[in-house]
Amino acid sequence: MSNSTAAIAPPWTGTASPFGVPWQKLMMWVFIVTDALLFAGLLVAYGVVRVASPTWPEQSEAFDMNYITLMTFTLITSSATMACAVAAAMAGNKKHVTLFLWLTILGGFSFLGMQAYEWSHFIHEGARLTSNPWGVPQFSAAFFIITGFHGMHVTTGVTILLVVAIRAALGKYSAQGVENAGLYWHFVDLVWVFVFALFYLV
């Protein structure tokens, strides 16, 4: 590049990202930010509906809070094992990558199993999308939409992790692939932090 061209050329020549990461990872971050806005929209809608409602059921009447705490504990633990899997991938430790990925998948399946039980229990008590025994239809609607949407994200995350774990077991994984899967999984945990606080605790 001549001096005159260098003087007017932009800093980014097209050979490397100005973000300093591969495009897959950048796109994962962009996806995470936009998906966070989507969940924020759902939680805000829930907040407005709740404030607008003259009454709202006590969560302890409808849910077993110890059970919900166990679900939260499971998801946080799976996030820790996922972080270990990424660290192992960075260090090139295939045995640990596989081990921690399977532990994360176990955590994901446990969470999904507990959520399926919670849903079935809630439905068995008479809760539907448009009505429930507690007399505030918005309560069960918010529950099904928010936890259902989150559950779909967890299901997607477990599927991605299964693919990455199988590839890791076959020795076909890349540290980048493990890290991208990890970013998504941590995001799923991050969303639950807000769902747990705003839907179950307040």
């Binding site: 990461v21 972080a83 945990d189």
Partner: protein
């Protein structure tokens, strides 16, 4: 990833499990706040703060954002800022309006 292998790979797993304990402690504190006799509005503010602390720890340590390029950090922080406006400011405005309407009804 490739930008920070030494910062993640060589530290082992100890830091992640220490953070796991911190996250559990914050979670238990939030449960205690939820069980307390505080007004719902105060609970909501404290729990949002607790959630924000947990989210920040997850983003910067588990998701390794602190090791990334400044541009990427800014991209994410701007997104988080917009999310924060959506979560904190809009409900506060609508919530106040709704409560006032109910008071004067």
């Amino acid at each position: 990833m490739s930008t920070h292998p030494e910062s993640v790979g060589s530290h082992g797993y100890k830091g992640y499990w220490i953070l796991w304990i911190v996250l559990l402690v914050v979670t238990m504190t939030m449960i205690a706040i939820g069980d307390s006799q505080l007004a719902k509005a105060s609970q909501a503010v404290l729990l949002l703060l607790g959630s924000s602390v947990k989210a920040s720890l997850i983003i910067f340590f588990y998701m390794h954002l602190r090791f990334e390029n400044r541009n990427l950090i800014l991209l994410v922080l701007i997104g988080i800022f917009l999310t924060g406006i959506l979560m904190f400011v809009i409900p506060a405005y609508d919530g106040t309006n709704i409560l006032e309407q109910r008071l004067y009804r």
